[in-house]
């Protein structure tokens, strides 16, 4: 097993403040990692560093050779003034065979949307299309930046369910930034709490009991998480 990305002691300064302070993390094969943390805690900056389009002031990042990353961006609003079909958007700057496109559209449940214009789609449909685009070229690692931010509760549920299904089917890794604590807890395998530095990390159940997590998100949130997981585990028994 080779690790996909190893970041050691990354520090990013912006003036006097340290956006990232001595952050280290490793993304291995077939991992599902979620980065949690308050706004302005450096989550997006960490993603930029990991993907290599921001060079940290200190520390280094090792990427596996020929690492293929699929990226799903934050807050996607489709441009109303540009006429473009879903199919053309998916193929834009991508080499993709008809078979691969067929597999991916089936996997993300967007077969019916391929010939539609991009600008009439709902938030949930757009997110699925962005995931589909990111899956082209069989990435080793899928990076998602707050993918379900603009969706309602049922939309979020459906989206995370789809993501889990894709994760189970493909033997690749997922790194996701998210705010949806309760949703994430049920899906992800590992949580990293980031507030400029890594506050705590580990399995979701373990992290919610961590004193630093409780300081960061408040006791209520930690208790709510515990209750949620409790309920969630029970629901499997029914």
């Amino acid at each position: 097993m080779t690790d996909l990305i190893t970041a050691s002691n990354i520090t990013v300064n912006r003036g006097e403040t340290k956006i990232l302070d001595n952050v280290s993390l490793t993304i291995g094969e077939s991992e599902f990692i979620t980065i949690l943390g308050p706004n302005g805690g450096g989550k997006s900056m960490l993603l930029k560093c990991l993907m290599g389009f921001y060079i940290p002031d200190n520390g280094n990042i090792k990427r596996k050779r020929h690492l293929r990353i699929g990226y799903v961006p934050q807050q996607f609003t489709s441009e109303q003034t540009m006429p473009i079909s879903v199919g053309q958007f998916l193929r834009l700057r991508k080499k993709v065979s008809a078979e691969e496109l067929e597999t991916i559209t089936a996997e993300t449940n967007i077969e019916a949307l391929v010939n539609k214009p991009l600008n009439i789609l709902s938030g949930g449909e757009l997110q699925r299309i962005l995931v589909a685009r990111a899956l082209i070229g069989a990435p080793d690692l899928l990076i998602l930046d707050e993918p379900a931010q603009n969706l309602d509760i049922s939309g979020q549920l459906a989206f995370y369910k789809l993501l889990s299904e894709i994760y189970e089917k493909r033997s690749f890794s997922i790194l996701m930034v998210s705010h949806d604590l309760h949703m994430v807890m049920a899906t992800t395998k590992k949580v990293i709490c980031l507030f400029h530095h890594v506050c705590c990390s580990g399995e979701p159940q373990v992290v919610t009991k961590d004193p630093e997590f409780i300081t960061l998100f408040g006791n209520d949130m930690a208790e709510m998480m515990a209750v949620y997981q409790h309920g969630h585990n029970h629901s499997h028994a029914h």
């Binding site: 389009f53 990226y71 006429p83 473009i84 958007f89 834009l92 700057r93």
Partner: protein, 266 residues
């Protein structure tokens, strides 16, 4: 034969402007650069003034001054003290005013009117060459970077994650805009360059299903407007710029019912 020659030159110049503006204008519409384009055109008058004062080619002096204007704008934007529209409002009208003052002080007989509203029938051979070379450069550059530009217009983060050099392309687009302004001033005039860039793509938007189709239809609409505009400009002895833009505006209005019929027939 004299009449025919200057009409043909004017027509050729107008059609090149229509083609360049049709494609470039799509990006202006998509990326909301309309006010930027308008401001750039206003600042071009200062370029005209400098060109005349220093005795250098006007196209060149406009490109240099507009590039400087664009860089100044980017620098001020990064400072973040004022919103972009405030900055553009200040820079554009300051440059226009200083330009008019400078031209007045030069004590040369300069037809300000022809710079403001265009004078397509006095286009000379050297201007045709500027149009052909500048226009081909713009169209070729846009075509070569087409899919990257389209992707970056849809979502900049996504484009950056997929190895598109986003900031380099943004600067490239700004630079191309300065060339568009420089070479088309003589044809449509400073005050109407922005409308030349916007109206044809906006009309075309209703009728197209892909970015490429929108650009091609915008070129067609622009070309038709230039032909109609030039005909009436010549017949009625009206300034070329406003006559062409009036033709564009009429086509824009017609595009709405046309788009409805287009949709119904499918």
């Amino acid at each position: 034969m004299l009449i025919e020659s200057f009409i043909i030159k004017g027509l050729l110049a107008g059609i090149i402007v229509a083609l360049v503006a049709g494609v470039m204008g799509c990006f202006v519409v998509w990326r909301r650069m309309a006010y930027f384009g308008d401001s750039l055109a206003h600042s071009a008058l200062l370029g005209v003034a400098f060109g005349i004062a220093l005795g250098i080619n006007l196209n060149l002096s406009i490109i240099i001054l507009c590039s400087f204007f664009a860089l100044l704008l980017v620098w001020l934007q990064r400072k973040g003290i004022f919103a972009t529209d405030t900055l553009l409002g200040i820079l554009a009208h300051a440059a226009l005013s200083v330009g008019v003052v400078t031209i007045s002080l030069l004590e040369q007989r300069i037809d300000l009117h022809s710079y403001l509203f265009g004078d397509i029938l006095t286009v000379g051979d050297d201007q045709i060459w500027w149009l052909v070379i500048g226009g081909s450069f713009i169209l070729l550059t846009l075509a070569l970077n087409w899919s990257s530009l389209v992707l970056m217009t849809i979502d900049e983060d996504l484009a950056q994650a997929e190895q598109v050099a986003v900031s380099r392309l943004q600067i490239l687009l700004m630079f191309l805009m300065t060339i568009v302004v420089a070479i088309s001033i003589k044809i449509v005039g400073i005050l109407l360059i922005a409308s030349m860039l916007i109206i044809a793509p906006a009309a075309s938007r209703q009728l197209s299903k892909s970015p490429e189709m929108m650009a091609i239809i915008a070129c067609l609409i622009g070309t038709i407007s230039v032909i109609i505009g030039m005909y009436f400009s010549f017949e009625l002895d009206t300034p070329s710029g406003p006559t062409i833009v009036a033709a564009l505006a009429i086509i824009f209005v017609i595009s709405f019912p046309l788009a409805r019929i287009h949709k119904k027939t499918k």
